[in-house]
């Protein structure tokens, strides 16, 4: 009895994977686009203090896509580690959460054109970290499930990597002295530092380990949805909207200005 029902369940599993409807049609039919976005990582995605809504650069890109598809946008809060599971389990249609393109991830999800580029950097106490060689023997805080976590563990075996749920929590650990540095995308770190009440004590270490590209994550094999997203991104760049969005969060008048060195459509 038990074995038959188990077999039945397994057969069902096998078929469930094949019954793929076109996601774009589903989205249009539901009238809702569900996008996983960060809720604790300014300026990409964060909880606005006044409105208590998630906002940020990634969110504005997501809004543009929803507008293009003529559907309502629904944001699903995520931390770094939950991004792929959310997409694979069908809990979100897209991921717009500072999502770095990697070959390993491409096996599980598809990516749009990159719309952002940055590199892996570090925040440490002022004057304590100036070159990569110093990383040996340090305890470095990262976010669970990020490319930075994997890169450090593979390339810097003498560094102790401690993974937290989100970058601000890693920063708290740095503040408490549990780790001596934290590592993330430079752009994310610059913004985090700019928002820190005690920023005078810390600095962005003056070196970058990698060059990384961030894109929208999509479920595997959704060609029409991918095309719709790519078209939107290209249009954003052409209309100058992409620059406007960038400047709103990283422009000269912002807390953490960062020159724009990557345009949508540039070779990644």
């Amino acid at each position: 009895m038990k074995t038959t029902s188990l077999l039945l369940a397994l057969t069902l599993l096998g078929t469930a994977g094949h019954a793929l409807a076109d996601r774009l049609d589903d989205i249009k039919k539901a009238g809702v686009l569900r996008v996983a976005a960060f809720d604790s990582n300014p300026p990409f995605g964060f909880l606005d203090a006044q409105t208590h809504q998630i906002s940020g650069l990634d969110v504005e890109v997501a809004q543009a896509i929803a507008k293009k598809l003529q559907v309502k946008l629904e944001l699903v809060p995520t931390n770094p580690a939950n991004r792929i599971p959310l997409l694979v389990a069908g809990k979100a249609d897209l991921v717009a959460a500072n999502f770095t393109v990697t070959d390993e991830r491409k096996k599980q999800v598809d990516f749009s054109l990159p719309y952002f580029a940055s590199g892996q950097q570090f925040i440490a106490r002022k004057g304590s970290l100036s070159k990569p060689e110093q990383l040996a023997g340090l305890r470095v805080g990262v976010d669970k499930g990020t490319t930075q976590e994997i890169y450090l563990r593979e390339k810097y075996s003498k560094t102790t990597v401690v993974a937290y749920d989100d970058t601000p929590l890693a920063f708290t650990a740095l503040r408490n002295g549990n780790v001596q540095a934290i590592s993330q995308d430079g752009s994310k770190l610059a913004a985090l530092l700019a928002n820190a009440p005690d920023k005078a004590k810390y600095e962005l270490a003056p070196f970058t380990l990698t060059r990384e590209y961030q894109a929208i994550g999509l479920p595997k094999g959704e060609a029409r949805l991918t095309k719709a997203v790519n078209d939107t991104l290209v249009e954003l760049e052409k209309s100058g909207q992409a620059r406007k969005i960038y400047d709103r969060w990283f422009g000269p008048k912002t807390k953490a200005p960062l020159p724009r060195d990557f345009k949508i459509g540039d070779a990644a």
């Binding site: 599993l13 604790s40 203090a49 599971p85």
Partner: protein, 224 residues
């Protein structure tokens, strides 16, 4: 500092974005706990009675299930329900519902054992007396055994409800905007007040659970 922190975030901590139709914070914690609590209680009663009245094969299956559920951390179970069930079965259930389901199932497993123990504690004599009066086994259970057994079980039910309320905090791992999740969001934004924010969170749960404990104790003292 504490005052302005409270002033800016208290409404979000208490009921999330309720005005926009997205309940969260303490309110969602209460909602999740209440729904899961009711389901777990019903499940526990049914399971416990089945363990007492069912045949040996049913009991063996139920016992195995209960043992497995009791051996898995709640965190893992929430994870399974949230991310892996949709992959396995191709169905998508909203986050809040998966958390309610996970909490209900695991607490029902614990409660079914308390119910079984409570029924077992009523002496054999009662069963035999009921039989002598010409009652069926089910009638005996309903009119003779259950009333005193349930009263005796109340403390363990209250304890389990408190456990459930506390475990609802684990919904934070899958991004359900309950009390703990909302507090970590605020902590991540404010950055430098973890002690105050997590302290406030602890006080919130303390008030809820202590109230529940006190209510349980009062109900236990009430005459039958």
């Amino acid at each position: 500092m504490m005052l302005s922190l409270l002033h800016d975030n208290l409404d979000y901590l208490l009921w999330g974005n309720l005005t926009r139709g997205q309940p969260g914070g303490l309110l969602l914690t209460l909602g999740i706990s209440l729904a899961a609590g009711v389901l777990a209680t019903l499940g526990g009663l049914v399971g416990g009675i089945a363990l007492c009245m069912g045949g040996p094969r049913l009991c063996r299956v139920l016992n195995t299930l209960v043992q497995i559920l009791r051996a898995i951390p709640v965190l893992m179970l929430i994870f399974w329900c949230y991310f892996l069930l949709p992959i396995l079965f191709g169905i998508d259930i909203p986050g809040v519902l998966t958390v309610i389901a996970a909490l209900a199932v695991i607490n029902a497993a614990y409660l079914s054992q308390s119910v079984k123990a409570g029924i077992d504690a009523i002496g054999d004599g009662q069963w035999r007396a009921a039989q002598a009066l010409g009652m069926t086994r089910w009638q005996a259970l309903r009119y003779i055994i259950l009333p005193p057994a349930l009263r005796a079980m109340l403390p363990s039910f209250v304890n389990q409800w408190i456990t459930l309320l506390k475990d609802s905090s684990l919904a934070y791992v899958v991004g359900v905007a309950e009390f703990t999740f909302v507090a970590t969001q605020i902590n991540n934004r404010e950055q430098v007040y973890p002690l105050q924010i997590f302290g406030l969170l602890a006080i919130g749960y303390l008030l809820l659970c202590s109230t529940l404990e006190w209510l349980g104790r009062r109900a236990g003292r009430m005459p039958a």
